[in-house]
């Protein structure tokens, strides 16, 4: 009973904050509601028994991705009234994408109930969760049966990282940067000079 109650609390807050993300007038508020939605989804994961996923969701999405989101939204100086002018223009495309997503979700959910044997046909058996912990079970699957896919995911991330660096890297002339090695290599002899200053003469 308590679990059901907690589930409805988490689910209701997730949906409500999801609605607020798209309806909030202030973009920073929208991002904050997005964070709330992430956080409550982590709560839903916890209720489903996926404790590792819940924590990783908080660490990765809330702790890193959303911080950068917030960072960017706070820094950008966008005229949001102007941005909203195109709302009706983009509405059909947005509605179409939303509809496709809805149909796909319905299909996925439907096939589970249409074909009760569907869960049995998955390629790998899940380790018995009564024996091993959640993290253990995930690790065993990832580093054995799905090892190559895991590596490929890593490679995709690497390519994305290199691409990002390449896109943002620019060398500007005239930037004063400290060369740490050179700074550390300086000695008293090369940097300080003691001069005798003659009176009224200067240097």
């Amino acid at each position: 009973m308590i679990q059901a109650l907690v589930f409805y609390v988490f689910a209701a807050i997730t949906v409500a904050s999801g609605v607020m993300v798209i309806s909030a007038r202030n973009p920073v508020h929208a991002v904050l509601f997005l964070i709330l939605a992430f956080f409550n989804s982590a709560g839903l994961f916890l209720l489903a028994g996926a404790e590792f996923l819940a924590m990783v969701l908080v660490v990765v999405y809330v702790g890193a991705v959303a911080v950068l989101f917030l960072f960017v939204v706070m820094m950008l100086d966008i005229n949001f009234v102007k941005l909203r002018e195109g709302f009706l223009q983009y509405l059909p495309i947005g509605a179409l994408i939303g509809l496709i997503l809805l149909v796909e979700l319905a299909l996925v959910y439907g096939s589970w109930s249409f074909a009760p044997e569907a869960p049995l046909s998955v390629a790998t058996r899940v380790p018995d969760l009564a024996v091993v912990t959640n993290t253990d079970a995930l690790g065993r699957l990832l580093f054995t049966d799905y090892f190559y896919l895991f590596q490929v995911a890593g490679l995709v991330l690497l390519v994305a990282m290199i691409g990002t660096i390449l896109l943002t890297l620019r060398s500007r002339p005239g930037v004063k940067k400290q060369n740490i090695a050179r700074q550390n290599a300086r000695t008293k002899e090369t940097s300080v000079e003691l001069r005798k200053v003659p009176t009224r003469g200067g240097i």
Partner: protein
């Protein structure tokens, strides 16, 4: 009706009592950490520190608290009120909830969850929100600059903290904090094989808690008080409490990961008579003294040097050390079962 009592009300009451039994000592610890800080820094700078209120100035934290309580709460014009109020509450709340998984002694833990380390990591990565929200909501340039600095700094140092944690976890084979201490009971404290990681973690902890020499988010010489500049009265006090509670929490994390938690330093008679909680508190106090000592000795870092240290020194080093640890464990046959 009896079911309701034994099934719901009684366990809830016990949990609430446990929570109070953790939070009250933590808050008292926070109060006396501020006192200890002023005394220690005073001693290091040949001053006396607080010495007027009560014997040896011992009631100084209470006096400070009372002063803050009776101050007026000021909202800046054009501040975003909701976010402005939520930010300190969030900081304080996060600094408190993290204590749920800290094992104080054998079995003395509120929630002995399997992903304890990840939980601590997740909560500490949320800490940045209190600061960034405060800086943005107060609608002040100083506050905003402080918040941006803090966000970049905390995200950077979290990366090396994460790698250090993974290296320790490799030696344990579990994410449970109690298991980490048990693994150190069987072998040696992890500070011995992982001394460089301990140093990295300590320094990253300083950066993560925005302590000197990494206190750029509130660097008073250029940003007045950074993200806290517009806060007054009790909402300021909540930031203050949260920050110091985070310091104690970081020390408790270091104690658990590297210093063997509640274990006695030597596993035989006169040391094992002392209860584990005393050892735990003593170790936390030693680390905290390190925090204060650093504050009294080191000048503040320059911001580009801070970033360089995090990304170009700590990150590669902890990554290499992680690979090294994995290699030694694998080929030395030391992998935990």
């Amino acid at each position: 009706m009896a079911n309701l009592w034994t099934g719901y009300i009684w366990p809830t009451a016990i949990t609430v009592a446990e929570i109070i039994a953790i939070i009250v000592p933590v808050l008292v610890g926070v109060a006396y950490l501020t006192y200890a800080e002023r005394k220690v820094i005073g001693a290091m700078q040949l001053r006396k520190g607080p010495n007027t209120v009560g014997p040896f100035g011992l009631f100084q934290p209470l006096a400070d608290g009372a002063k803050l309580f009776f101050k007026e709460t000021i909202f800046p014009t054009n501040a975003n009120r909701g976010v402005f109020l939520v930010a300190p509450a969030l900081t304080f709340f996060l600094a408190m909830v993290a204590w749920a998984v800290v094992p104080f002694d054998e079995g003395w833990v509120l929630a002995n969850i399997n992903v304890g380390v990840l939980y601590l990591f997740a909560i500490s990565s949320l800490g940045v929100y209190g600061i960034i929200m405060a800086g943005w909501a107060s609608n002040s340039k100083y506050g905003f600059l402080g918040a941006l600095r803090s966000a970049a700094q905390m995200v950077s140092y979290e990366v090396s903290i994460g790698f250090v944690m993974i290296a320790v976890l490799l030696c344990v084979g579990s994410l449970n904090l109690t298991d980490i201490v048990h693994a150190q009971a069987k072998g040696v404290w992890f500070i011995i094989p992982h001394l460089p990681l301990f140093i990295i973690f300590f320094i990253s902890g300083l950066a993560e808690t925005n302590r000197s020499p990494f206190d750029l988010p509130e660097g008073e010489s250029e940003l007045v008080a950074g993200y806290m500049v517009e806060y007054s009265s009790m909402i300021f006090a909540m930031f203050f409490l949260g920050e110091y509670a985070n310091m104690i929490l970081m020390s408790a994390t270091i104690t658990t990961l590297f210093l063997g938690g509640w274990l006695s330093p030597l596993p035989f008679a006169p040391f094992t008579w002392v209860p584990g909680i005393i050892w735990f508190v003593l170790k936390v106090c030693v680390i905290l003294f390190g925090f204060l000592w650093v504050r009294a000795t080191m000048p503040r870092y320059r911001y580009d040097q801070l970033m360089r240290l995090g990304w170009k020194v700590f990150l590669p080093f902890s990554l290499v050390w992680l690979v090294l640890t994995a290699g030694v464990l694998e080929f030395g046959g030391l992998l935990p079962k």
